[in-house]
């Protein structure tokens, strides 16, 4: 199945893309998808989204469509879904 990954804020700058479409084998949960995406960009993205323990960073913001999902959400992705990942940003 095809999943569109949208990168925002620091993840966009790290990857150098606004979005990309990837192929995944169903069934695939949100956390599986993010772990997979981190392997696609091991130098630039992985340190932002995966912590030293190999888990998704607790502060990572994840949206399935326009709805937030938590990193351990067990929901399975469906063909055509868009998953947005971003780090929290701040003022100044």
């Amino acid at each position: 199945m095809q999943i569109t990954i949208r990168y925002e804020a620091q993840t966009r700058r790290a990857v150098g893309l606004e979005e990309e479409t990837i192929e995944l084998v169903a069934p695939c949960r949100v956390s599986d998808c993010i772990q997979h995406v981190a392997t696609l960009h091991p130098e630039s993205l992985r340190p932002i989204v995966i912590n030293a323990a190999g888990e998704i960073q607790p502060s990572l913001l994840i949206f399935l469509g326009d709805d937030q999902v938590v990193r351990d959400d067990t929901k399975e992705l469906a063909d055509g879904d868009t998953l947005t990942i971003m780090t929290p940003i701040s003022g100044g």
Binding site: P47, I48, L61, D66, D67, Q68, T87, I89, S90, G91
Partner: protein
């Protein structure tokens, strides 16, 4: 936010005439603004514009917290600062500029950034907080105190040409710790941004504050407005309260 709002003078009726034509705002909304107070955590790129718009709209009192003096790198976005003010106090410059626009405005200028020590007494002085600070430690301290005192908090943020805004209504919507349970390790105080981006966010944040204070329209409570001015895309996303949130998880 309060029904004990002061009445308007003839001068105020003249100044705010056009916005009082907004039907669900009107004279009552203007009186609520006059009776309200707002804390703005830092008057930089975001906070300068929030403060200016609230001063223009007729808010009664602003508490401005921002340490330090004006630097050259402030001047691309901190619109209450001026070239002539380089090397001088940011909050003093902000107070002077705001009172040039609205001499009726009460300003409390605090030459400190928000921290765990001063957050309590700063929040106690106001009805609502707008968080425009760059460091998550400041933001989390402000969130902790605003939620603890049951004060609404408008959270605004930016990066490059992107921005996010949400409004925290304690006990009813996610707070900052729900969104960000720990400071992101890779965030730095200095980051890419245009003044037109911070100005856009600041105007939206000011409008949120006005709506919450005056009690009209729909707020961004429980929503994260995310926009990208590079592509001119805007989305309003649903965000989640964390039942295990260390700050607001105990609230009903």
């Amino acid at each position: 936010m309060t029904d004990n709002s002061p009445s308007l003078t003839d001068e105020e009726r003249a100044v705010y005439e056009w916005q009082m034509w907004v039907e669900d705002f009107g004279v009552a909304g203007q009186e609520r603004l006059k009776g309200a107070s707002v804390l703005i955590s830092r008057v930089g790129g975001l906070g300068s514009v929030v403060a200016y718009e609230l001063a223009a709209a007729g808010i009664g009192k602003l508490v401005l917290a921002h340490a330090g003096n004006v630097k050259p790198s402030d001047l691309n976005r901190q619109l209450l600062m001026t070239h002539a003010g380089l090397g001088k106090s940011r909050v003093e410059s902000a107070e002077r500029r705001l009172k040039e626009l609205n001499p009726r405005l009460e300003v409390v200028a605090v030459n400190e950034n928000v921290d765990k020590e001063n957050a309590k007494q700063l929040v106690e002085q106001v009805d609502l907080v707008v968080d425009c600070a760059p460091m998550f430690e400041e933001r989390l301290a402000m969130n902790h105190e605003a939620v603890g005192q049951n004060k609404p908090l408008v959270e605004c943020a930016m990066y490059d040409l992107e921005a996010t805004i949400t409004t925290v209504l304690p006990g009813r919507t996610p707070c900052l710790v729900c969104l960000c349970p720990e400071p992101p390790k890779l965030w730095r105080r200095e980051f890419p941004v245009f003044g037109a981006v911070s100005g856009t966010v600041g105007c939206i944040a000011a409008m949120e504050a006005i709506k919450v204070v005056a009690g009209f329209g729909s707020t961004l409570g429980g929503k994260l407005l995310a926009f990208d001015l590079r592509q001119m895309t805007f989305s309003k996303r649903q965000i989640l309260r964390r039942p295990d949130c260390a700050v607001c998880g105990h609230l009903p």
